[in-house]
């Protein structure tokens, strides 16, 4: 094990999910940084940023290539991780990426009222744009779009070939207040309470850095 690593994989159980969105190509650097700070585990997925820009939209390149990193950390190293993210990845400056902490079930403290929340919206491929338009109407912008596969009907067989439906996942951070309205709107406009129309879930966020609208958000 590298001497610079402050903890090993199994020393302390993870109680926090540190999710980060950075420009495509910086995901590995971010994962290595967080592992060096003591993150127990980290994975990275390709994603697309959807922050609206009228000029980019006119040019047909409204989406920007991003990478989403999920790192599982212990609460004790959270401060060190955020300091490194600000210093080495410049996440404290707007436009360099965002990172935020989602408590896991093993989080030792009771979850008090948090200002921010994360939303995960999973729909069939092709409906992601509709969801983004709905969110735009609610003035919720800056979601991250991921390609995924469904597992509910993986066992379906057509002409002896297994069918794996493609999905789109929209991952976004927003103030907590409009999220109940967002869930209601998704239910009304996309019939999410009906089977196979998608799901939307929200999580508490205890800390965030680099958010688009507010620039910097502390604890």
């Amino acid at each position: 094990m590298n001497k610079e690593h402050k903890t090993t994989l199994t020393e302390k159980p993870s109680d926090m999910l540190l999710a980060s969105v950075v420009t495509r190509g910086k995901g590995s650097q971010l994962m290595n940084l967080l592992r060096r700070e003591g993150a127990a585990y980290a994975v990275c997925a390709f994603a697309e940023g959807t922050i609206p820009s009228h000029i980019l939209h006119m040019l047909g390149i409204a989406k920007t290539k991003k990478e989403l990193v999920f790192a599982f950390i212990n609460q004790e190293i959270e401060e060190a991780c955020y300091q490194s993210l600000a210093k080495e990845m410049k996440l404290d400056q707007t436009g360099h990426g965002v990172a935020f902490s989602i408590p896991l079930c093993s989080y030792p403290e009771p979850l008090t009222e948090t200002e921010l929340a994360a939303a995960f919206i999973i729909v069939d491929k092709g409906k992601g744009e509709d969801v983004l338009d709905l969110l735009d109407e609610l003035e919720l912008r800056g979601g991250t779009l991921l390609s995924a596969f469904g597992g509910a009907s993986m066992t379906d067989i057509l002409f002896n070939l297994p069918i794996q439906p493609e999905k789109e996942v929209i991952f976004m951070v927003a103030p907590k207040e409009p999220l109940p309205k967002m869930l209601r709107t998704l239910d009304e406009k996309m019939s999410m309470s009906q089977p196979h129309q998608g799901i939307a879930i929200t999580f508490a966020i205890t800390r965030a850095i680099g958010l688009y609208s507010e620039g910097k958000k502390g604890k």
Binding site: Y41, A71, S193, I199
Partner: protein, 100 residues
């Protein structure tokens, strides 16, 4: 009802097995993300192994049985993380009950 999201990381191609085991234990669906994993020791030239990250949203009552089912179905240790869900829509119809 309290809900949880399980995040299960398995080697590429093993997601289908995870979904089967989870469905046997009461899960009603899953979403699979293709990811790559950070190496324990960063190197100047590194090949990061690909992983499937399986997301399973379930009721609290099924969480333990799903975790046990998945762990029991693999010989190697499986990384499973659990995230508490604050609010949700679209999960009401998919929940099985313990008696099922």
């Amino acid at each position: 009802m309290e809900k949880r999201m399980l995040m299960i990381s398995v080697p590429l191609g093993k997601a289908e097995r995870v979904v089967q085991l989870a469905n046997q234990a009461g899960a009603s669906g899953a979403t699979i993300l293709h990811t790559r994993e950070a190496l324990a020791e960063p190197k100047s030239f590194q090949l990061e192994p690909q992983r499937d990250l399986v997301l399973i949203v379930t009721n609290l009552e099924f969480q333990k049985s799903i975790e046990e089912s998945i762990r029991g179905g693999f010989e190697q240790a499986i990384k499973i993380y659990c995230v508490p869900i604050f609010d949700s829509v679209g999960l009401e119809h998919g929940g099985k009950t313990i008696s099922e």
